[in-house]
Amino acid sequence: MTKDECKQVVLDIIAEIAPDEELSDVKPEVALREQLDLDSMDFLDIVMELRKKHGIEVPEGEYGNLVSLESCAEYLTPKFDALV
């Protein structure tokens, strides 16, 4: 999986959780919370949708890696690659 594909996976999940958010120009390097109205309940949902849809586990201590799209891609791409 490329990092861009990984970013799209995360964006698709956010679109499902928060259909009222405008996602067309989310800046990858800026924190998601600064651009979108996401709270801790929403981040918990991102983690759980990753598990449900893709079998990816994110331990509670590592939630910090999901702060921006860029950091998500950095952290999650190897996890996706390890699945295959």
């Binding site: 499902e16 959780i17 928060a18 259909p19 009222d20 109205d37 709270d39 309940m41 929403d42 918990l44 949902d45 759980m48 598990r51 449900k52 509670e60």
Partner: protein, 466 residues
């Protein structure tokens, strides 16, 4: 023996909302409901071919789509329900009506501010100070310490009439304690009614229940209606199995109970708390529902959505001494929401007052029916005094009516003493002395339709999904 990841007791708003979260994320979850109808304290029924709502006067917490951090928008996200599906119509306007004084409010906070200024000019600085105190309070934490709301409000406001007028709607729409409330609860209620506001799906509560059940089913949740839980078999400090009314036994890793704190403890096979900890609430209500052929606007009652009235010098929110306490109450006119082109087909006026559980419980069947008739017209007259004058002959004009009492509530919801807002004591974090038993709903402490759904979501997230 059937084994579930999570068993939920009660198919009310909080139980179904919790179930949606759990089923969506792959838990094997079953909701057990003793009644044949879902909804719990917010339900509906049919009588003589008409549909009646119970519970719902109006949904509090109304905000426009996109308002950040608002509880309504947060729960819709969590339940994957869209604003369009909910199809809410806003209130036309409501009032707190005391002798010689009115405070109007709607879904724009500015109206209440200007009304306070008009009626209580000297209290304006104090009112602003109170609003700032409310805004500064962090109500997202579960375990804030108890603070008397009366004391906090009195530090800002000196006129007791204004104080009572602020408390009246907040108490009627969600206080399980007499005359005072926890300041944290006060903040939640103040925001949900005055900062946010009232709305209603045109179809009433049925629309919300239908949406929740559909979501739950789509997510794979199991629901067993007319299946009450008779007891929890407690072993080694945890719920080992659930014994159903039929005698059948089932197991669950986690039990989430929405039936109330004293009610939940009384289901436990071992005594796990002292008697004083399981006191049921003392506040119960009676409500009359009158149906008219025409819209209430045709008899001059077209402007008020909800009217909170009190006809004494001081507002008393405590257990009624008489069968029904006529000194205060709430009038709700479901027609007076902004539905656009088509309003409800018939006029509906509901009046709710505090009522005495013991009296209604002790009547013989014959007494019960004749007292209902007697109080129905007395409640109507108490309410009428606060409404615009008209020449309506109620007995001729009213084409159908119904009334519920604390006994009705207890009978259909199994809520002890018919106390709809539950026990005075809440468990804000949802925990109990039983390690795998958690509380959601009324006695977790979030109230109203939005509050109860938020409670189910928060407890499911915290105790069963982490």
């Amino acid at each position: 023996m059937e084994n579930y990841d999570v068993a939920i007791i009660g198919a009310g708003m909080s139980g179904i909302a919790a179930g949606i979260r759990l089923a969506h994320f792959g838990k094997k979850v079953c909701i057990f409901e003793r009644h044949y109808a879902p909804g719990g304290l917010n339900s509906f029924y049919f009588k003589e071919g008409r549909k009646y709502d119970v519970g719902l006067h109006a949904m509090t917490n109304f905000v426009k789509p996109g308002v950040k951090r608002a509880p309504l928008n947060r729960i819709l996200r969590q339940l994957r329900i869209s604003r369009e599906e909910l199809n809410l119509s806003e209130q036309l306007g409501s009032r707190v009506a005391f002798p010689g004084r009115n405070l109007r409010f709607n879904n724009e906070f500015g109206l209440l501010e200007s009304e306070v200024e008009r009626e209580f000019r000297n209290e304006m600085d104090g009112f602003r100070k109170l609003v700032e105190t409310i805004q500064a309070f962090d109500d997202t934490e579960f375990n804030y310490p108890y603070q008397s709301a009366r004391e906090v409000v009195r530090r800002c406001i000196t006129d007791v009439v204004l104080e009572d007028m602020i408390f009246c709607p907040l108490m009627y729409y969600g206080s399980s304690t007499e005359d005072d409330m926890d300041f944290g609860q006060f903040v939640v209620m103040f925001k949900s009614i005055f900062f946010e506001g009232f709305a209603r799906p045109q179809e009433g509560i049925r629309n919300i229940i239908k949406l929740l059940l559909l979501r739950y089913k789509e997510a794979g949740g199991i629901r067993r209606m007319k299946t009450g839980v008779a007891s929890f078999k407690i072993e080694k400090g945890r719920v080992d199995r659930l014994i159903l009314d039929s005698g059948e036994e089932v197991q669950a890793d986690i039990v989430l109970s929405s039936v109330g704190l004293p009610e939940t403890y009384s289901l436990c096979s071992k005594k796990i708390v002292s008697e004083t900890d399981i006191k049921a609430g003392r506040l119960s209500f009676a409500e009359t529902i009158s149906i008219f052929k025409d819209q209430p606007s045709s008899f001059n009652w077209g402007n008020d959505t909800i009217v909170f009235f009190n006809n004494r010098d001081r507002f008393a929110y405590r257990e009624a001494r008489e069968p029904v306490d006529l000194t205060s109450g709430v009038i709700c006119i479901p027609n007076n929401f902004d539905y656009g082109e088509t309003n409800l087909t018939e006029g509906i006026v509901r009046v709710t007052c505090l009522a005495n559980y013991e009296t209604w419980k002790m009547y013989t069947e014959e007494e019960y029916n004749s007292e209902k008739e007697n109080w129905r017209s007395r409640i109507w007259n108490a309410a009428k005094a606060f409404m615009p004058p008209n020449s309506l002959d109620y007995s001729k004009y009213c084409i159908a009516h119904d009334m519920f009492t604390p006994k009705t509530v207890e009978h259909f919801t199994w809520k002890q003493r018919g106390a709809i807002y539950g026990a005075p004591r809440k468990t804000k974090d949802g925990t109990t002395p039983v390690s795998n038993l958690f509380i959601c709903g009324t006695d977790q402490g979030f109230l109203g339709i939005v509050g109860s759904m938020l409670s189910g979501i928060a407890m499911a997230n915290t105790h069963a999904l982490r």
